[in-house]
């Protein structure tokens, strides 16, 4: 049946090292493929995606006058483009290629070699039958709007924004909080260099504010996202700040003048360890340096009975505006970078660590504020009763590596716990106990950092803390009030240790933001099992999402430290830049089209299209698809009652052939 002068097909099966060939007999499958109708050459090769593999394709196209190519290897989501390009270079239409996913859907998920070989043959047969019916297609190009939206103004968003803006692109940076800076602004020093977070962050924050290419919208949230790669339409809600950003000069006199003489409400930036007024600025270096009024706390806004001392003091500028309403901005962007960050694990979820119950149990982020010179205690580590702790325990892995809470390793806790051990010891000379399960110090300079801190004389106890309770419950108490006993097995000496400490620090892990699910839906991307945003491929497309034109930066994609976050933000920015600078984007030519002669004009398809791409043409009395609007879902194709709508790349005939090929009987 070799090449009956009709369609000439080349078949290639990839060993993928041992990923495929380790389970199934690839030579046998190639041999089988060679018996299939139209197949004139069938080969197995070590790595089809490699350059020699692609060369092989090209050479065979010339040598055997191949008209169609079938490659049995990995997922088409991974390498379809690779082989299409190779086919194109070889001189045939790129859409004359069909892939067979025998790795992800085959050898990686099955271990019965014999059965899997049969399954692979079924799949190969289906692809050979399908590819026969493939039609030559042309790629469609759409222009790309050159502006970009970055959601989240933490270090990832800031870095991506500056990178893009420096490259001359216009950036909309949207931040939910009144200031940019994110979690990093709350940190004191950063590992492994122990340089001060503010020193490296604040210059970047002001650079954002000053950059002519950046439109910074703080106290704002994305409300709605429409469109697709190159052409997103985004609605941003600018919440009422009650202080006009254009008029305010950042003198902060309004805060001073507030009718509340002292702070009264928990200060979010300081993790509630200090109080602030209803009109406030999160921290002195906030960007923009514009106060915000909490409408739930401000007497004027709540009751309308305030003396309005803030308005009085701002009489010149008239920046205080109690009438301010939320504003909705609609912007057009070509690409979106999500840098929405993380939420620290809520330590109250582990009742036996006593957070929220015993006042001397802190989270790591609270400690960051306590050790910070601009924090609530001016950088002194003090207990609620004012004492300086003499013994401090730091619990690693709080909420991490735990099936009950978060399964993942939060990656930064070991190193920041070492950092906190160092900072607390430096400030208090306390005896420090770090309870860890495994000490994780991968990455540049991390092991060196671990080495340095561990030589400073802290106690490293290998064991996960199992219980925390007041010292008063034990028989022998040495009279210290408020100490808690930290109970854990020291697994290295094989003994249960009960260590009374003055202060307990919980190194809470990183988890997705509470509203990650809503954001995911709004941007139509996916989440991985833990709820972090899912990258397109962990190695090949780590900052892409499954939605073209939307990129990820920072901890919204998974826990990572500052160096990695910044690196990833840079990567996301360059991906977005590459996209925008191309000016056009090539769409898969998988659009639907109507066979005009066949269409009866029954209009059944028209309401089914979510993109209103189908219109009824009165003069012809037929329906017509606007190819520019069609996204290629194929819903209308499946619905057309007279079979008059077809879809490129997913023709009925192609799918029927695939079905028959999969199931063919002797």
């Amino acid at each position: 049946m070799k090449g009956n002068g009709d369609i000439r097909i080349g078949f290639y099966i990839c060993h993928c090292g041992t990923n495929i060939a380790g389970l199934i007999d690839v030579a046998r499958i190639a041999e089988y493929a060679g018996t299939l109708p139209g197949v004139v050459v069938a080969r197995d090769y070590k790595y089809m995606c490699s350059d020699p593999g692609q060369d092989l394709l090209r050479e065979d196209i010339a040598a055997y006058h191949l008209m169609r190519i079938v490659v049995a290897s990995c997922s088409p989501l991974l390498h379809e483009q690779t082989f299409r390009r190779a086919a194109e270079k070889g001189g045939i239409n790129p859409y004359f290629v069909q892939m067979v996913n025998i790795r992800e859907h085959g050898t990686w998920v099955h271990d019965d070699a014999e059965y899997m070989t049969g399954k692979a043959m079924d799949m190969v047969r289906a692809a050979v039958l399908r590819v026969y019916a493939h039609q030559p297609l042309e790629r469609k190009q759409v222009p790309i709007t050159p502006d970009v939206l970055i959601v989240g103004g933490g270090i990832a968003g800031i870095h991506a924004a500056l990178t893009m803006a420096d490259a001359g692109k216009h950036v909309y940076l949207v931040e939910r909080e009144p200031t940019i800076g994110g979690h990093m602004a709350q940190f004191d020093k950063t590992f492994p260099t122990l340089d001060c977070a503010a020193c490296i962050l604040t210059p970047k924050m002001t650079a954002v504010k000053a950059h002519p290419n950046i439109t910074l919208w703080t106290w704002s949230e994305v409300e709605k996202v429409d469109g697709f790669i190159g052409n997103f339409t985004v609605t941003v809600k600018r919440k009422a700040r009650y202080v006009d950003e254009d008029l305010c000069v950042g003198c902060m006199e309004c805060i001073e003048a507030c009718i509340y003489k002292q702070g009264k409400f928990p200060d979010e930036f300081n993790m509630g360890l200090s109080k602030r007024k209803p009109i406030f600025i999160p921290f002195p270096q906030a960007v923009p340096p514009v106060p915000v009024i909490d409408p739930g706390q401000c007497l004027h806004l709540k009751k309308g009975t305030c003396k309005d001392t803030c308005v009085e003091i701002c009489a010149d500028r008239k920046a205080i505006n109690f009438e301010q309403e939320p504003e909705y901005k609609e912007i057009e962007v070509g690409a979106i970078i999500l840098a929405t960050g993380f939420t620290p694990f809520d330590a109250t979820r582990i009742p036996y660590y006593g957070y929220g119950k015993y006042p001397n149990v802190y989270t790591a982020l609270e400690l960051e504020r306590l050790v910070n010179a601009s924090g609530p205690t001016g950088g002194e580590v003090r207990l609620p009763d004012g004492r300086t702790p003499e013994r401090v325990a730091i619990v690693h892995c709080v909420g991490s590596r735990d099936e009950h809470y978060n399964r993942w390793c939060s990656r930064v806790c070991c190193m920041y716990s070492m950092k906190l051990a160092h900072l607390v010891k430096e400030k208090t000379h306390a005896e420090i106990f770090n309870f860890y399960i495994d000490m994780r110090a991968p990455g540049k300079s991390m092991e060196e950092f671990y080495n340095r801190i561990s030589s400073e004389g802290i106690h490293l106890v290998r064991g996960r803390v199992a219980d925390v309770y007041p010292e008063t419950l034990e028989k022998k108490t040495n009279g210290q009030i408020g100490r808690v006993i930290v109970q854990a097995e020291d697994t290295l000496i094989g003994r249960i240790r009960k260590i009374p400490v003055d202060m307990l620090i919980l190194s809470t892990g990183l988890q997705p933001r509470i509203d990650a699910e809503e954001i995911r839906r709004m941007f139509n991307i996916s989440c991985s099992a833990g709820g972090f945003f899912l990258e397109r491929h962990p190695k090949l497309a780590p900052v892409n999402t499954f939605t073209d034109g939307i990129f990820l930066a920072g901890t919204c994609q998974g826990p990572k430290d500052i160096p990695d976050t910044v690196a990833q933000a840079g990567a996301a920015a360059s991906e977005a830049l590459a996209l925008i600078d191309r000016g056009v984007f090539e769409l898969e030519p998988n659009t639907a089209y109507i066979m005009e002669d066949d269409c009866s004009g029954c209009k059944s398809c028209i309401p089914l299209c979510p993109y209103t791409a189908i219109a009824f043409k009165e003069e012809k009395q037929k329906a017509e698809i606007n190819e520019a609007l069609c996204k290629g879902c194929g819903t209308c194709v499946a619905s057309c009652p007279s079979g008059s709508i077809r879809q490129h790349l997913f023709e009925d005939e192609e799918i029927y052939r695939e079905i028959r090929g999969l199931l063919a009987y002797a």
Binding site: Y32, L78, V109, R125, C633, L663, A664
Partner: protein, 174 residues
């Protein structure tokens, strides 16, 4: 092109075969994820990729069954998550009517299944397929191609001339 093709016949005990239509964005990706995560599951499924579960024409389901599938699985994005806004709702609506029709034609409802599996739910691909395979294993083969041959035996019989009396007697008591 001559489409007579040799099939892969291996002398193994019967195992159900499922044709699965998975949408590109969620379920196909989830099946890839199951692969990347090396989750082992029953090998009885053959996956056909479509862009959206809304592309799945009921004819595909019937064709698959009629060509010998023991079950058909449709996988799409969760409600509200469709990459194309609402293709999965169309799939759901078609599924329910088609399901009734299949039941009416004597096909057990377990043979036709629709599941929402998001791109991150690799483990759901595994559990759904394992579960369906187990159910089909209990149901036994649907095997419409073989049934069709069996149906047509009566044609072969009638090709013969008028049968003798005894045979009629026999036929009348069947």
């Amino acid at each position: 092109m001559n489409e007579t093709i040799e099939t892969t016949q291996t002398a193994q005990p019967w195992r159900p075969r499922i044709v699965a239509f998975f949408c590109n964005w969620c379920t196909y990706t989830a099946a890839d994820l199951a692969g990347v995560s090396r989750m082992k599951y029953a090998p009885n499924t053959r996956i056909i990729r479509v862009m959206c579960s809304g592309r799945i024409d009921p004819q595909f389901v019937l064709e698959a069954l009629s060509e010998g599938a023991d079950g058909v699985l449709i996988g799409g994005c969760h409600p509200g998550d469709c990459h194309y806004a609402e293709g999965n709702y169309k799939a759901l609506r078609r599924f329910h009517l088609l399901r009734r029709m299949l039941i009416g034609m004597g096909i057990d409802e377990k043979r036709f299944r629709l599941e929402w599996i998001s791109a991150s739910e690799g483990d759901k691909v595994k559990t759904v397929i394992n579960d369906m395979v187990e159910q089909l294993q209990q149901l036994g083969p649907l095997d419409i191609p073989a049934r069709r041959k069996a149906w047509d035996v009566e044609l072969e019989e009638a090709k013969a001339q008028v049968p003798r009396y005894e045979e009629f007697e026999e036929a009348a008591h069947v």
